[in-house]
Symmetry: C2
Subunit: 207 residues, 2 copies
DNA sequence: CTATGTGAATTTATTCACAGCA
DNA sequence: TGCTGTGAATAAATTCACATAG
């Protein structure tokens, strides 16, 4: 293997592989070929092999990949081998859903705190987490939280973002459709639910 | 303009333009140039012009684009000019959040029904919609619902999908991380929240 | 003989640079 | 002059095909 820039699309697929491997592992399987994994996660076998090849030789020719070894490698690449603490900002419907969402455990995240500005919500216990006042966001640095999930109304998004940046947050999962500005050292990944829904009709044959 | 295949990525951006235009319109603006819109939605001006050029000549040289005209065109392309009724399957945390999500109105969707299998939830009123028994999914065809949003636990996803397909659903927004199989006439767009969170640490400098 | 790993070919998407119209 | 629309150039990602290792 020699060095090549890793495509963004490859990085996007790695978590999918990781989850597939976790499921296979739970089924008691120890080894898998690229074509088996392909069926399982619905991505072509050659794509899988190409993706892995950017990082090194993970498999054994004629045999396949060791699920444990491969999972460890992917976790390492994605930096999921160290614990990441995350905070949820906004304890409304979406924020509560995120707090209760079981899917994050798979990747080893610790959802460690929740914040809101509404006095009605502050102090409430959601899924074993007590909602704190959003004015205390600056304490996140000392609590070693480096990831934030923004689930606040659109108009509050930028202000919250600014506070998060000041609190030393390094990565943001943003559910607000509003573009948010951050210094370039901070990585933002946006999930724009309404836009995704909005392109569905395009693919639906009319009539 | 001459015919060219429309890139998927272009389709992905159209809803973003549409929302930007709606916001500008609300600010009382009637006309916008590609570079103004570029600032607003955070996409390059040349990208915007190229995207529009796939569909025809929307602008006026030297002037820019009429916001009303352009919005209408994009809605037509995305088939958002006809009403689409959508149903939410799963009235848990995520489903409830979706039911209450204000962002769909922007694109003219009518969230018309909600379903769950849990007797505790059936009959509950969430955001003015009464949760129905999931066994009644087959009535969706006659109610002219053509889009479904799946917010059920992973293990129920495929079964629910099969029912939806039988009920004549044409498009699915899928929040379940499990791959779901559908006949190819049905379009699925998946939002995989956990995977998106999982690639954040990759972009965060270690240490 | 099987399944990986990877150059090369192809396809897709982005970026540029500027001709052409208002 | 200002801003669109678009070929051509570049870059990125996917797909192929096969040499190579176990």
């Amino acid at each position: 293997m020699k060095y090549r820039k890793i495509p963004n699309e490859t990085v996007r697929r790695l978590p999918v592989y990781l989850r597939g491997l976790a499921q296979l592992s739970q089924q008691g399987v120890f080894s898998v070929s690229s074509s088996k994994l392909a069926d399982f996660v619905n991505i072509n076998a050659w794509q899988i092999r190409k993706d892995f090849s950017y990082f090194g030789d993970f498999g054994t020719r004629g045999v396949g990949y060791s699920i444990e070894r491969l999972s460890k490698q992917i976790k390492k690449i994605l930096r999921l081998d160290t614990l990441h603490k995350a905070a949820v900002i906004g304890a409304g419907n979406l924020g509560s859903a995120v707090l209760a969402y079981p899917g994050f455990r798979t990747y080893g995240f610790d959802i460690a705190a929740a914040f809101d500005s509404d006095p009605e919500k502050i102090g409430k216990n959601i899924n074993n987490i007590v909602v704190e006042d959003v004015s205390r966001l600056n304490a996140l640095r000392k609590r070693q939280v480096d990831i934030a999930i923004i689930a606040v109304p659109e108009k509050a998004a930028q202000q919250v973002t600014d506070s998060l940046v000041r609190a030393g947050i390094k990565g943001i999962l943003n559910f607000s459709p509003k573009r948010i500005s951050v210094p370039k050292k901070v990585k933002v990944i946006t999930i724009d639910i309404a836009s995704d829904l909005a392109r569905l009709p395009y693919y639906i044959p009319s009539g």
